[in-house]
Amino acid sequence: MPGMSALDAVLAAQSVVETLGGGSQPDRVEARQMQALSLGVHIPIVCFGIAFPAMILFVEGLYLRTGDPAYKALAKRWSKVALVLFAVGVVTGTILSFEFGLLWPEFMASFGEVFGVAFGLEGISFFVEAIFIAIYVYGWDRLPRRTHFLAGVPIVISGFTGTFFVLSVNSWMNNPQGFDVVDGQVTDPRPWEAMFNPNLWHEVVHMYLAGYIVAGFIVAGIYAYAHLKGRRDKYHRTGLVVALSFAALAAPVQVIVGDWAGRQVGKTQPVKLAAFEGLTKTQKSAPFTLGGLYDEKTGEVEYGIEIPWLLSLLSEHNPTAEVTGLDSVRPEDRPPVNIVRIAFQTMIAIGTGLALLGFIFFLTWLRKRRLPRTRVFYLAVMAAGPAAFVAMISGWIATEVGRQPWIVYNVMRTEQAVTNADGLEVGYAVLVAVYVALAVAVVWLLRRLTAAPPHTEVSQAELPRTKVAH
């Protein structure tokens, strides 16, 4: 709710009454962890949903232009992987939507009408994605070439719109607006205002790029391994160059977007920014502290390296600007600083490294028109995939744990939203077991999928192009 002072917001929050009349219960930690686990499984898969179709279409485009079967084999192989990951995304995404109701019924009952329209549009995007990914993957060698290529375009578009609408809801939770609170009741919902809240834009761009970085580096890492193993034919080289190019283009841009995101958070969620930095007191010319651990008792960061003025410079682009500290709100309204801060700094550190790696790749390409030759570069690319994954998850931890103790920032506390149903610990245990099994199965499947030699993707008639005869 824009224009509210922090105190007003707290007062308004105290007067929000749970719509379903249920109170808090002590085991909300399990509810939060179940949700976090499910998101942690779903989001990396979504990265492939965001980025993989564009990479596949790029390679298919090369095939259409050149007719080289190596491109076709690669695009076809990738599309099968994409389909499997999409299937996993479908089921893990379903779990998420169930959990909204199973874990957070009060949240849904109070605010479903405010943010729900975005999910309606996300549902449509998801539908379109499911339809065209089936047409695309099962349409290889069946649909006319151009039609087949065009059938891939809606997958890319709906991947973007789906991300957009989901992040609309998340950004709204972080910067809620488009409703009033009257006598504890949510009234006058204005769904479009909620959907296009000011946090939306940087979150969408930040996550969309993260999708390309994570998926790009993970795929590139697999081909970097193949490169070191001596598989350097056109098929493998294309796989490496395409995936790496997508990731390497996105990684440096992400640094700029990250700066934008950080400043936006400083405006709309100053306490979260203070937690990112472990800044206890509101102060001018605030320093940035690198590393170290935040001590809840003293409010100081121990063992960190302090760089004067940098935080003010980063958050306001002005070295003497005032930065809000954690002490601007009561202790019970602050997020757990160490988790948030460590996650945030991990993201920054890895993100910087990935941007550098991307930069090296492009510099070599521009100056020498070839791939780097050093072994360490390929090892770095192999490490970049898992690192990008860690950076992205860290970013989400910083965002979501940094939002605590609120489910709707400054309006509804997380413990107000949770279900009264028993047995959360049983559900949690089952879910952990299921996800472990799922992860093992998917890794096993992807290994099997990539084990078959590439030429099995194209018919024998296509391979020696001069010998095509019927």
Binding site: L20, S97, E113, G123, I124, F126, I131, T187, P189, V430
Partner: protein, 356 residues
């Protein structure tokens, strides 16, 4: 506006009951197909039919959820907190069903295929059973407004829930057999046409008997629901469903599978509609009328507009997918599921995800 949103919900529920239900029904036939060798042909046909469409069919469920939590948020919170057990079990089932089905296509040995197939098939039966039980809890007025206000057990362990759960499994199996018989005709595999024809007829008769016998259960367990189903629009829908079912049996008997697809859909759709008529004006029977359940007008208008615009893209896309499927454009070669693992063809076969 609330009525339009309810219509969206029912569109989604009906489509999920027909198409999603048919996919679960296919799992039922997979489960009962017998040994790996004996059931290999049935399973191959099921794998081939479901592969291109099951994900799109599944999205109807998501569609229903998002409309309900936006347009009827209090009902959504009440339903999910009271019926948390069956809905959680169904959700876990959904993970196993989808993942195991996708993975079975890549199985490398008959053992792997058996384990994955068993998981897929078993969860295909559990999901409609538990969804049906949850629906029964709603229809029989056992969900109270509030955060887990209804009984966590008897809200879904009761005669009506048992009935609707079983009915969901049986009708899914019936619709699946009708569709698979049609797909077998297109694939030119006569023995599979006969196999699914027999199953369609048998399951159709059983579904009819369960539905008729079920009326007695509903009458004693949920009299209000019974009254709604035996008078006015509810009765008309029940009769339409019965006629649709009878027509399906006749058409399957006559070998007219294309028309049977439609009439089977009518039979399932009509009973879903009958449920809505029967509990009119309630969204949660005895607790919350449609108007009480509805979100404010601004939200409903925005949702109707958003989904309406979305439909302009969605409907042609769905039409395109189903047209390609029914014309056989996305068909793979028919191959018995166990054939890949027979010694003479081991190794050389591409994985089942591949269009040859």
């Amino acid at each position: 506006m609330a009525e339009i949103c309810l219509a969206f919900v029912m569109l989604g529920v009906t489509a999920y009951a027909i198409f999603g239900g048919a996919d679960f029904g296919a799992g039922f036939w997979d489960l009962t197909a017998g040994t790996a060798e004996g059931g290999g042909r049935l399973r191959g046909m099921i794998q081939r039919s479901m592969a291109p469409v099951w994900e799109a069919n599944h999205v109807w469920l998501i569609f229903v959820l998002v409309i309900v939590w936006t347009a009827f948020p209090v009902a959504f919170g009440s339903i999910f907190s009271t019926l948390s057990i069956p809905l959680f079990v169904a959700a876990i089932g959904i993970i196993f069903r989808g993942a195991a089905f996708a993975l079975r296509g890549q199985a490398g040995t008959i053992r792997e295929a058996k384990v994955l197939g068993g998981l897929f098939a078993l969860s295909s039966v559990l999901i409609p059973l538990f969804f049906g039980a949850a629906a029964g809890g709603i229809a029989s007025g056992r969900v109270e407004v509030g955060n887990a206000a209804g009984d966590p057990i008897t809200s879904w362990v009761n005669p009506t829930s048992a009935l609707i759960g079983v009915l969901a499994v049986v009708t899914g199996a019936h619709v699946a057999a009708v569709y698979l018989a049609g797909d077998s005709v297109r694939a030119g595999v006569p023995d599979m046409v006969q196999a699914f024809r027999r199953r369609a007829l048998g399951s159709g008769v059983i579904a009819g008997l369960v539905a008729l016998g079920g009326l007695a259960v509903v009458r004693s367990d949920a009299p209000d629901l019974f009254d709604g189903l035996t008078s006015g629009a509810g009765l008309a829908a029940v009769i339409a469903s019965g006629l649709g079912g009878a027509a399906t049996l006749a058409l399957v008997f006559a070998g007219r599978y294309g028309l049977a697809r439609v009439s089977a859909g009518v039979a399932v759709g009509a009973i879903c509609l009958g449920w809505v008529f029967a509990q009119d004006p309630y969204f949660l029977p005895g607790e919350l009328t449609l108007d009480q359940a509805a979100a404010s007008d601004a939200s409903l208008t925005a949702l109707v507009f958003a989904v309406g615009v979305g439909m302009i893209i969605l409907i042609p896309s769905l039409w395109y997918l189903y047209r390609l499927v029914l014309k056989g454009e996305l068909d793979q070669e028919f191959e018995p599921l166990d054939q890949r693992f027979r010694p003479q063809s081991a190794g050389g076969q591409p994985p089942a995800g591949a269009g040859q």
